[in-house]
């Protein structure tokens, strides 16, 4: 009870800080310096229609690399934690079979979901969405498969290789930018191409695709590791 009261009081203090921020907030009428630069230059310099994507992939590509690394780390640590002390006797529990409807449905849906995921990340530079969203969609296909058959095992090897290869390509493209263009992760390694088309914005769509693959692989890895805990 004391704890609740103390927390309440402290949060009241934090609330006061927040209230202060809220009341002191004046929405800006004009784009600030940074945003104006993005609005003016993104399309010309990088050839990307989706400015958020241009920021995520190129201007702040290093953040994104870090972000992908966060997922990689999480997936790796989860694998490490759950591998630790896992008993090796594979206890095959008999589970009730998933319903016919679900099984058939997932067979039908999985390819479609995968296709959607790929579409989302390949078009990241043109439309909303991109690697992360696409990756999550790809992972949801895996999730669906896991739901229909809880004992299903994905090849860890395949996931790991996909994770590693896409990660390496991401870095490799970044380094290419460093060598052949203006800096690390500069997307202008390839020509910008025609604005608004699929093959435009330099290597941006390629990078975003690798991000998508990597994120998908990492999510899948997390999910399968957690799913396999059933074994023990």
């Amino acid at each position: 009870m004391i704890r609740r009261f103390a927390v309440f009081l402290l949060l009241l203090g934090l609330g006061a800080i927040f209230a202060d921020l809220l009341l002191g907030y004046t929405p800006s009428e004009e784009l600030n310096l940074t945003a104006r630069y993005y609005a003016e230059h993104t399309a010309q310099d990088l050839g990307a229609a989706n400015i958020v994507t241009a920021i995520v992939v190129t201007y702040r590509g290093l953040d994104t690399l870090g972000e992908v690394t966060v997922l990689f780390l999480t997936a790796t640590i989860i694998g490490m934690v759950l591998a630790r002390g896992r008993k090796h006797r594979a206890l095959q529990r008999q589970l009730p079979a998933a319903g016919e409807l679900l099984t058939t449905g997932s067979r039908l849906l999985v390819p479609l979901i995968l296709l959607l995921g790929v579409y989302v990340f390949v078009n990241g530079h043109l439309t909303p969405g991109g690697g992360f969203q696409g990756g999550a969609i790809v992972a949801s296909a895996a999730l669906l498969l896991l739901l229909t058959d809880p004992l299903k095992r994905f090849s860890h090897r395949l996931i790991a290789v996909m994770e590693a290869v896409s990660g390496l390509f991401f870095i490799g493209l970044g380094v290419l930018g460093l060598v052949y263009a203006g800096g690390f992760l500069d997307s202008r390694v390839l020509p910008n191409g025609a604005f608004g088309t699929l093959f435009s914005a330099g290597v941006m769509p390629i990078i975003y695709s690798f991000i998508g693959l990597k994120v998908g692989a990492e999510f899948t890895s997390m999910l399968t590791h957690l799913a396999e805990t059933e074994q023990s």
Binding site: G129, A136, L143, M222, L223, L226, E230
Partner: protein, 83 residues
């Protein structure tokens, strides 16, 4: 800013706070998790209104989708974990 949009916004906000209340005070953990996912889903709708489609998609896919699944995965493994 038209009133319809504004009232939808207020409605969403109220809904979110209500559901968030459920998250922190629900008796069953499963309810709390579901509520947290719902908060996230409402938020992604709000993001759309805030002209942030990228964020909306991400929040929907990752925040409310994957996260909630992760929660339930673990919940299933720890069988409630209530002491």
């Amino acid at each position: 800013m038209n009133t319809v949009l504004l009232s939808i916004g207020v409605l969403l906000a109220v809904a979110m706070i209500g559901v968030a209340w459920l998250t922190i005070r629900a008796t069953r953990i499963a309810t709390a998790m579901l509520a947290a996912g719902l908060v996230s889903l409402f938020a992604s709708v709000l993001f759309l209104f805030l002209a942030a489609p990228d964020v909306a998609m991400t929040e929907a896919a990752i925040g409310s989708g994957l996260t909630t699944f992760l929660f339930f995965f673990v919940l299933g493994r720890v069988r409630g974990g209530q002491s």
